[in-house]
Symmetry: C2
Subunit: 296 residues, 2 copies
């Protein structure tokens, strides 16, 4: 087995190769003066299983094309099979046609990955797991909730776990269960059919003196999280924690979240972490997934 | 027939729809705050032949993904067939493995276009026409040389037409022939096997008092063209013209070319033209290609 990390490997390639005692292939990745993406493998892959690691943020389209180019090249060079590890799968939120004439972007991404020859796809906490049906090959979706529960367990006391919308409810339920069977609630969120805008409906719960854990899969602009954090602060919650898999933190998102009274933010290393965020390492789960795929 | 222009349509969509008297579909194209590309068709395409126009420069990977997303969506929405017009096909210069472990990027691009359902591909003066074999569908490669000959014919007197390398020789030969059967020569250019760098070997021709036309398919950094223009200026050439299909002009390329003593630059509108370049409109050739594809 060979491990290859692209420009968005985020150090996971080195960790995996050490833990698996597998060869780490050197890959050159650069951009030409005119903006074209270029990669080069320094070493043979013929007859091998290659694990290619690439997250898809930031610069989603560039990182995706780099990955497609690499997989196509690995197949051309005669590798036996390609396992791609995509810690953060971009476009996963555009998983259906919310409005007429829209694309199902995650379907397109998964179709392209299959077209160049990806055999197995490993990803982490994809926005909706049903989206993975668009990939006509083997998929593994890693659930980081136990990792988050482990770090939170000694820190929070009888928290209320909040899902920002119904989509995150099962995640909140699982986390609450792992935190000594705590309480959990979901905000209501829906997309206005006409304008396409997201609307939040708040709920009435007694947060007074309680620790709060807000859990979500992706934080992008941070507005949702900041609104909820302000809401519970206004209702005299004790400490507020945020737990998220993919902390994109676009623009001033981190400041926005901090200003809303959040004590601590836990996020995975599926994208490059902002400073001031507690990083929870996803490597153990990826390691287990790669092992089980290559054992069979 | 429906015409749809994406963010890189460069005005060709409007022109084509008028000339073909075909519906121009409104397409929204934007980038989300986190960097994800989004498109939306405002209008039905079911049962129709749709012509989607998108050049692939600048921001090659973003423009490519936008195109792939659009074609996949058009097919999902039930269109009968997709004709894509890609005036400038990015990645066409990486058409073979120059060095071990490199990708054949143009193959990957063409494979992806086919995977989402492109039926017919129309492009302009692709770097090497053999590359189009990687697309397993119908392809049309438009030759702009007659258009250039038309604008040059009354401007240059008995010119020497220069190809910067052997790859551009047939283009120089054709242009020279159309310019009253003028003289043509090629510089020698090769890629060093070890370093991968491009080396030029200059030739000995009497340029004194002669008009010179340098012809190439793509101008990127402009270094090659500037070197040749300086070379012929030092040998007392009269006026120097540059003719190129795709004027990318990266960074200070235009200044570099101007400083080397070039009088006039002619370029197609396959990419957004820099100021100070004489634009030769490719629309008539695209029109003809679309007509012949839809007649059959």
């Amino acid at each position: 087995m060979i491990i290859a990390g692209l420009s968005g490997a985020n150090g996971l390639d080195l960790k995996l190769s050490q833990l698996l005692n597998a060869e780490l292939l050197r890959v050159e990745s650069k951009t030409f003066p005119d903006g074209e993406t270029y990669i080069r493998f320094y070493g043979g892959v013929s007859g091998e299983t290659i694990v290619i690691i690439q997250t898809l943020y930031p610069h989603q389209d560039r990182k995706l094309f780099e990955l497609l180019l690499s997989v196509d090249t690995a197949k051309d060079l005669g590798c036996k099979e390609v396992i791609t590890v995509i810690p953060y799968l971009a476009y996963s939120r555009q998983d259906r046609r919310f409005l007429d004439g829209e694309p199902i972007s995650v379907k397109t991404v998964l179709k392209l990955l299959r077209a160049v020859g990806v055999d197995h796809l490993i990803t982490v906490d994809v926005h909706k797991v049903e989206s993975l049906r668009f990939f006509h090959g083997n998929t593994v979706n890693l659930d980081p909730t136990p990792l988050f529960a482990e770090v939170l367990r000694n820190e929070v006391k009888a928290p209320i776990v909040i899902a920002p919308d119904q989509g995150a409810l099962s995640k909140a339920r699982e986390l609450a269960y792992l935190l000594h069977d705590s309480e959990y609630v979901a905000f209501k969120k829906y997309r206005d059919r006409v304008t396409g805008k997201v609307v939040h409906e708040l709920l009435e719960v007694d947060f007074s003196g309680r620790d709060v854990v807000i859990v979500d899969d992706i934080i992008s602009t941070g507005t949702t999280i900041a609104n909820i954090a302000s809401y519970v602060r206004d209702r005299d919650a004790s400490k507020t924690y945020v737990v998220c898999s993919h902390a994109l933190f676009v623009g001033d998102a981190l400041t926005k979240v901090r200003m809303s009274g959040v004590s601590k933010i836990y996020a995975l290393n599926t994208v490059k972490a902002s400073e001031d965020v507690e990083v929870v390492d996803i490597t153990p789960l990826i390691l287990e997934a790669v092992r089980s795929l290559t054992r069979s």
